[in-house]
Amino acid sequence: MGDLLKRYGGTLTGAFVLLTAFWLLMLIILPNLALFETSFRPYLPVAEMGGPRDVYSADNYVKFFESPGPMSVFGFEIAVPLRAQTFLYTVFYSVVVTVVAFAFSYPIAFYLAKVVSPKSVPTLILLLFIPLWVSEALRAFAWYIILTLNGPLNAALVGLGIMEKAVRWQQGVFTNYDAIVIGLVYNYILFMLFPIYNAMSSLDTNQIEAAQDLGAPWWKTHLRIVLPHSKPGIASGSVMVFMLAAGSLLVPTTLGSTRSNWFTQTIQQAMLESQDWNTGAAYSFLYLLLCTVVVFGVMRLFKVRLSDIAR
């Protein structure tokens, strides 16, 4: 701080502090406090705001645990509140998306970092970037076209004799969330690929060759050398993909059906359709809590720091 004063003088240092303070206070900290405060207030007509019924309570959070419905967990039917069900499904399928994205992009990252000749890497990366430049709404829409009943995917599968007749992908074939998982993986897989690729390209190729010369089979080389080295990239990619998937509203709304609810849709219904900002705030706060738990969980699990994840 004294260093800043010496270099830039009082006025400029003051300006730096003010700008940072505006960002952190007005755009980050106070809005989140407002969210927290609002979530404990009842939803009242404007006339009654500040009146005798405007007292703090946890009622909005209680709504999360109301109206139980049947849910099967590992084959057991148990009663779980509907919104909590949506919440659990969202977390579960976001994990599925993260795992699938990792499985598909790991070989590609290795290919780019260690297999292909370095000359063609810039061209390949440019090609990989093309979908990222096309808006997320349009990428989800592309899968909407592909997955419709009379769409090209069904036509191709039936034409090749793999399936007997067209299926409704958006209604779900294996689970209710098929189409959503497909769309989310497509939309966010590159956020997994690039961090892993970055981590892998700093690995010394000599280490891989040494392992091979000493007789390690290919899977052992990956397990003991490549995988541990790419750990920060995997952590960063996993957190990114999980957050993006769980926080997505576009993809579930575009590709989902009435049988598949995403928690962001629950929040959106409270906020924009019922105009009940207090309940919306409570759900948002629960969501923020989930994200915090996930980020710190991954940091613990992979033994990485926040500066490794956010890059």
């Binding site: 700008l19 809005p31 407002a34 609002t38 430049w133 096309v134 990428r139 592909i146």
Partner: protein, 279 residues
């Protein structure tokens, strides 16, 4: 399995991965030319350019497009100074206060967009500021400034502070130190930050949806079109965006290759000169 076979398998996998990434875009573009009321490439009902005409005449689309650009420019104008100031400040402190500030500066990147949007409207509502695109700008800035901060902070690592001290010793004013020494060093990071801010803002959906009020940006407009009756004019829009991306990518690639070829030629020239000297 031999090395050669494994390499072949890798090439095939890379090929199919690119196919997987790019085919949906091809299908979407194809549907823009199909003479069919619902957007689809199958069944093919003949070539038509009517959806481009429809897109051209779509007033709401143009308004949304204009809004998107204005919001993105405003985000760049606010996020770049905020992020840069944050990075300069955090670079000059250490210890727990640094970790504390760093946490709050980075956290918005990992927070869900919907929550950012909702907390923004709740806070400004308490200050009696109505919803609208101005709040979308502020909501987007809160996390986009974090990207700028990270870029500038990385650039500051390679900054030689002795230059500033030398300038001060030679009698430069504080303003001159900032303008002539620090800022020129940061220009690449500020430029990259501005570009990222611009494109992040154009892409943004979650924050905008909750803060926009009744105004539209392009992503929100596309979304509402996809939900309510869609016509292939959206595909026409997608085709134009993809075409623009491809052209930009092509130009970039050609320029990169030319630079690489030039570099190789210069190297060869240098080698020949060295050899000639030896003889």
């Amino acid at each position: 399995m031999t090395d050669k076979m494994r390499k072949l398998l890798y090439h095939i996998y890379m090929g199919s991965f690119l196919f997987y990434l790019l085919v949906p875009l091809v299908i979407m573009s194809g549907a823009a030319f199909n003479n069919n009321k619902t957007p689809s490439v199958y069944p093919w009902k003949g070539f038509s350019s009517q959806w481009f005409v429809e897109l051209w005449n779509d007033g709401t689309m143009w308004t949304s497009f204009g809004n998107t650009i204005w919001v993105a420019l405003a985000v760049v104008a606010i996020a770049v100074p905020l992020g840069a100031a944050g990075a300069i400040l955090i670079n000059s402190i250490s210890g727990w206060s640094r970790s504390f500030l760093y946490f709050f500066m980075v956290a918005p990147i990992l927070a869900p967009g919907a929550v950012i949007g909702i907390s923004t409207i709740l806070f400004w509502n308490k200050l009696s500021v109505p919803v609208g695109l101005h709040l979308s700008v502020l909501g987007q800035v809160s996390y986009i400034a974090s990207f700028v901060m990270l870029l500038v902070l990385a650039r500051l690592q390679s900054f030689d502070q002795n230059l500033e001290e030398a300038a001060l010793d030679l009698g430069a004013s504080h303003n001159q130190v900032l303008r002539r020494i620090l800022l020129p060093h940061l220009y690449p990071a500020l430029g990259a930050g501005a570009a990222i801010a611009f494109f992040q803002s154009i892409e943004n959906f979650n924050v905008t949806l909750f803060t926009r009020g009744t105004q539209n940006t392009l992503t929100v407009y596309v979304f509402s079109k996809v939900r309510s009756g869609i016509t292939p004019s959206i595909n026409a829009l997608a085709f134009l965006l993809i075409a623009a991306t491809l052209v930009a990518a092509l130009i970039y690639e050609v320029r990169r290759r030319r630079a690489a070829a030039l570099e190789a030629a210069r190297e060869a020239e240098g080698r020949r000169a060295a050899e000639a000297e030896m003889v």
